[in-house]
């Protein structure tokens, strides 16, 4: 690999932009493809699959054996609410490889004693969220059950291209939430992005089980192709 390629690759990785290095393993010939060039690339279908699965591998294209090395950013989970479910959710998400950040302005909740191994931001969403740069490799969940905290957080998430938005609450609660958010300028398409009631329907009862159902739904959002995702929803 040319030093120039390696330097450019590291810059893309640091900026949390996906990139793919294509290597002809017979000749050693190599090229770096950046996110903005994926769609126009002759290998775009292979790229799409490799990126979605986060899997590097060999492909054979017109007699050439090419290795596609996928560099996708680490997935992140931003949790609004340092609540009981979050205490179960954070370690499960971390075990799945997510970088987890928890936001809750209530310092009694957002305490290191309750969350020993998780970055906590004890600020209101309007202060805490903008610096987090929520991006397409981020999943976003609102779990406080308190409209004062969840609503502004969700309004922020609508402005971002995150791959998943979920919010805790029954259908009835979610209906009211929709009305409130619309009154604050959210569009129907924004409300439709929210997975609510949150999590896959697995009959979850305890906070840990709800955490499992949330991470299962997030995994589906991350990995399944669009059509199957809609079928699973």
């Amino acid at each position: 690999m040319k030093l120039e390629t390696l330097t450019e690759l590291n810059a893309e990785r640091a900026a949390r932009r996906p990139a793919i290095v294509v290597t002809d393993v017979a000749s050693g010939e190599q090229r770096l493809v950046k996110l903005k060039d994926f769609a126009a690339d002759p290998l775009r279908d292979e790229f799409d699959k490799a990126l979605r699965m986060g899997k590097s591998g060999m492909v054979e294209v017109s007699g050439k054996k090419l290795f596609l090395n996928v560099y996708a950013p680490t997935a992140r989970l931003v949790v609004i609410g340092a609540v009981h479910i979050s205490q179960a959710l954070a370690p499960i998400a971390q075990a799945l490889g997510y970088d987890v950040t928890i936001v809750d302005p209530r310092t009694a909740f957002a305490s290191p004693e309750r969350f020993p191994d998780v970055p906590l931001i004890a600020e209101w969403p309007d202060v805490a969220l903008p610096p987090l740069n929520i991006d397409p490799y981020t999943a976003f969940v609102a779990l406080t059950h308190d409209p004062k905290i969840d609503d502004p957080a969700l309004l922020h998430a609508f402005q971002c291209d995150c791959f998943y938005i979920g919010a805790l609450g029954s259908r009835k609660t979610h209906g009211k939430r929709g009305e409130r958010l619309r009154a604050q300028g959210a569009k129907d398409a924004d409300i439709a992005r929210i997975h609510a009631p949150i999590g896959l329907a697995i009959g979850a009862v305890s906070p840990s089980e709800i955490a499992v159902s949330i991470m299962a739904e997030i995994t589906a959002a991350l990995r399944l192709p669009r059509a199957e995702k809609e079928a699973a929803a």
Binding site: L3, G57, F67, P73
Partner: protein, 107 residues
């Protein structure tokens, strides 16, 4: 996604910029039960210092030795390791899988 490895590619860049000879070894194919998936990598400098892994520690020593040649020659190499492949390599994978590792110089 979910790449939690320490930032070995940044280390490779820094080594190279610091004047070291550097090679990059990457798992490109696996068969059977391989310890690390395709895309896993190991970076090596001309001191013999290495970071990362291409297996569970079974073949790293051999990869480092080969990487020294690659740093010297500049020619990329494809290495294959597997239990059934004792003719080419004396190191194998105890898990029974086979892996192919592409070794290239950072130039």
């Amino acid at each position: 996604m979910l790449n939690r490895d320490e930032d070995i590619l940044k280390a490779a860049e820094d080594w190279k910029k610091g004047g070291h000879g550097v090679a990059l070894a990457t798992v490109v194919e696996t068969w059977g039960s391989a310890p690390r998936p395709a895309g896993s990598s190991l970076v090596i400098n001309d001191d013999g210092t290495f970071l990362g892994s291409v297996s569970g520690g079974c073949v790293e020593g051999a990869v480092v030795t080969e990487a020294m040649d690659v740093i010297e020659s500049g020619q990329p190499k494809m290495l294959e390791f597997g239990v059934a492949d004792e003719t080419a390599w004396n190191v194998g994978l105890s898990c029974g899988g086979t892996i192919r590792v592409f070794v290239e110089k950072v130039a």
